[in-house]
């Protein structure tokens, strides 16, 4: 599947005198040079000189060293690598959208504003939360916005709070976000079933006691600003005591932030606003299938309860109903509401990753209420099918009911000195992108598999057959696994040297 031919860096192919862009004829007088001498651009050291032919071939060849969701199953847990419908790409490229200027007056961009408003309405109904901002550019940006809303809420009640509680199974972005918002992080321990522990937990290895939610709430009380909880959690398990957790936190007026990374398990089935969540983000690049783009752009809208709405970032897109005569269909106009005195301010230069939001609404309209729910159920069925087929060959460290993803451990394979990394790399030889590995941290040698609803039975079977073959190989020929991947364009890469002696750009020899 991969092109074996090596592609050099474009800089190494540069030849003076070539160009890949011809400029239009200048139809006005040449620019007068008013720059002070020291501010005139001097030379470039790296910009290559290439024709369009060479640039196209370069990026086409490089692309063949990548793996995309159209190549096959991409079971990266917590990343929700589902099919990217081509309609969404086409719509996002409509000149009516792409040419529109963010500083244009509201009256000239009614289509954009209606698009944003409509997406807000969909997200409100899906989450059961009445407030939405579409500004955050990614999940982590959404988290930061959400935690700043929590902070603004407490400040509006005339108090500062110090602590954010985060389960030990949480994504690394959660504690990093809390720190960026000026909070101290206190970790919540997990129970053996992967959910948050109300009771204190004694570490079986070192005997240390870690305080559970109950103890932390009673000891820290009104020091707690809120908690950031992923639900379903990173083990793919629903926090079945969520309502009790939120009630307990609300008893000290601490707020509940839900990390919505795993919302693909809940759309149409359960709504965070109905089980005690005050504020959450959605990853539209996961749940609503906007393409991941090799690391972005994404979109991380934040939805919140009425208690947090006054603090939402400016501007908020609102709809006004234009008065019409009796019996006529009401007409609407849309505008940006900038007059929100309690707002935390702006979190994006303009209004978020608009082009991504267009794709997300297209996804919603295509699926509809029925398709969204069907997608959720199929994602859950697919994960459980993999679980059923692999549970004898790979250890289920946590045996709670799985939703949209299933997390195995490498403990069975470790007996043969085969570890998660080896299994992951061997999958590459079989033509698969590996699952998320070594996360969550509470599962030893975690292999977190999220098939999404985009896989049919034949694809699931092929993947499971491969995983079973690898399990067998681990017993019979473990050394072959240590060598993997053998069939990828490159063998395992030396990450240690890369970090110790970083080479972060090309320089002329």
């Amino acid at each position: 599947m991969f092109l074996r031919q090596r592609e050099p860096l474009s800089f190494e192919r540069s030849v003076p005198g070539k160009r890949g862009m011809d400029l239009p004829k200048l139809d006005v007088p040449e620019a007068k040079d008013t720059r002070p001498a020291h501010l005139k651009r001097s030379g470039f050291d790296a910009l290559p000189e290439l024709t369009e032919v060479e640039v196209i071939r370069h990026f086409t060849r490089l692309s063949k060293w990548n793996y995309g969701v159209d190549d096959g199953m991409y079971p990266l847990g917590s990343c929700t690598m589902k099919h990217n419908p081509r309609l969404n790409e086409k719509v996002a490229g409509l000149p009516g959208f792409t040419d529109s200027h963010p500083m244009a007056p509201d009256a000239l961009v009614q289509g954009n504003l209606e698009m944003l408003y409509t997406l807000q309405e969909w997200l409100k109904e899906i989450t059961g939360l009445p407030g939405v901002t579409l500004q955050p550019s990614a999940g982590a940006a959404g988290e930061l916005t959400g935690v700043m809303l929590i902070r603004a809420y407490h400040l509006s009640h005339g108090r500062k709070r110090r602590v954010i509680l985060i389960p030990d199974s949480g994504h690394g972005t959660n504690p990093a976000t809390a720190a960026m918002a000026g909070y101290e992080v206190v970790e919540l321990p997990s129970r053996p079933d992967g959910t948050i522990s109300f009771e204190d937990v004694t570490d079986p290895v070192n005997g240390k006691v870690r305080k559970g939610l109950q103890t932390l709430v009673s000891e820290l009380g009104t020091e707690i600003a809120g908690a950031m909880i992923t639900n379903p959690n990173t083990v793919g398990v629903f926090e079945y005591r969520f309502k009790e957790i939120s009630d307990l936190l609300h008893s000290v007026d601490a707020l509940v932030y839900m990390d919505g990374a795993n919302m693909n398990a809940l759309v149409g089935v359960a709504r965070p606003g109905d089980f005690g969540v005050d504020v959450m983000h959605l990853n539209l690049h996961k749940t609503m299938s906007t393409p991941h783009g090799g690391g972005g752009p994404g979109a991380g809208p934040v939805c919140c309860g009425a208690n947090l709405m006054p603090f939402l970032p400016v501007p908020v897109v609102v709809r006004d109903t234009v008065k019409v005569g009796e019996g006529e269909v009401p007409r609407h106009s849309y505008r940006m509401d900038w007059n929100r005195p309690q707002s935390i301010g702006k979190v994006h230069t303009f209004y978020g990753n608009f082009g991504i939001l267009v794709r997300a609404l297209t996804y919603c309209l295509s699926h509809g209420s029925d398709g969204l729910k069907e997608a959720t159920l199929r994602a859950i069925v697919n994960a459980n099918y993999i679980r059923a087929r692999l549970k004898d060959a790979y250890a289920l460290h946590i045996d709670s009911p799985s939703l949209h993803e299933v997390v195995f451990s490498d403990t069975l394979q470790a007996q043969h000195d085969v570890h998660t990394l080896d299994i992951a790399k061997r999958l590459i030889d079989h033509g698969y992108h590996p699952p998320t590995i070594y996360f969550p941290l509470i599962v030893p040698g975690a292999l977190m598999i999220e098939p999404t609803e985009s896989e049919g039975k034949d694809e699931l079977d092929a993947f499971c057959d491969t995983m079973l073959a690898i399990a067998k190989e681990a017993e019979e020929n473990p050394d072959a696994l240590h060598q993997a991947p053998m069939l990828a364009p490159l063998r395992r890469l030396d990450e240690t040297t890369a970090a110790r002696k970083p080479v972060l750009r090309w320089t002329r020899a």
Partner: protein
Amino acid sequence: MRYLPSSPVEDRALLDTIGVPNAEALLVGIPKPLRLARELDLPTQGSEQEVAWQMMGLANKNMRFCAQFLGAGAYDHFVPSAIDAMISRQEWFTAYTPYQPEISQGTLQHIFEYQTLICDLTGLEVTNASLYDGGTACVEAALMAVRVAKKRNTVLISRGLHPMYRDVLKTNFDPHEDLHLVEVGLKDGVTDLADLQAKLNGDVAAVMVGYPNFLGVAEDLTALAEPVHAAGALLISVTQEAFAFGWFEAPGKVGADMACGEAMSLGNKPNFGGPFLGFLAVKDAHKREIPGRVVGQTKDLNGETGYVLTLTAREQHIRRDKATSNICSNQGLVALRANIFMQLAGPGGLRGLAEQNAAKAQYLRQRLLELPDMEAVGDQPFLNEFVLRYTGDYAALQEACLKESLLPGLDLGRFYPEYAGCILWCATELHTRQMIESLVEILARVPATV
């Protein structure tokens, strides 16, 4: 549903293997009272044709223009066809963050090349795989400067920074009670040196200035660097129009210790403000404090050159609450657009485009100044944006332009009360002489102030 590969026979087989009668049985982990007891109150699924028409209907509700004379942080430039063709390849647009380097060398090598070119444009040594946009890039730069400068708690920001970048900075500094963001005023369209000197002290970690600033003027970084460095602070240049790197000297070569801003101009349309492309370039000495993904070169087991995500010890998935930032997803595909754009343009293209932008903007300015109600405001070097005072009524001017499908420049008083009555104009390589003449002709007919 066309996106769900399933059939009744296969569904049955899946459920039988799992051992449940139906999919709902798998929701057992979600307590019943917490489930949604009804269907979502939303329209049902739509065919591709229906959805396409609905979305086209929305796109068509936006007003289209023959020409936009508005920049202000979102610039309309020509986008070479190769860019859309390339990024439409599924290997680029559907892939995830390159966590598994052996099958992500395409993305990794692209980012390495992109990093090289951003360093080249800015004259600095280290950059990352991108940040969200200009505003958030300013936040990351400011927070990084505070980490680098240890024990200094203040960042000075020039009033010449894009007003929305300043808003985003304020939002993000607000939660840090120990950190201060202090504005430095403008004088004659550039950062006021006297005000800057008055505010520089041992607490100042960094000073951020526009290059060019929101008014289109290239600040004299060399002159600013002197007092800033003498006070032991870092100078950060903020660029909202990346084409400026083809006209003005690389910030890293004229005194900037860090360069950040917005690079949407490299291969993107205005797109109603996003997705855009934030960047941050720094000196080698500061590389371990940079936020976000960074790609490095290394070797594989066979000694072949390859690329990996590196310096991960800074990042959230390792350091958690001690990380340099919470950022993980960035603007990967937009960075790819920029990379392809830069490689097509090359040094000649980038310089040539900058020269054309300067020529068009100078011609527009000259023609507008021939109108009786337009007056010059300052005479500093600019690339493609400049400010003129308009003695007429902006609303009337705007109406006249819109009637002829032209989008006029920005009413600057909206963001700078001290510039009330001034307009920020922009012209790029897209503006033909004909468009400029049409604008001038229309403005000449706008009725004088009542």
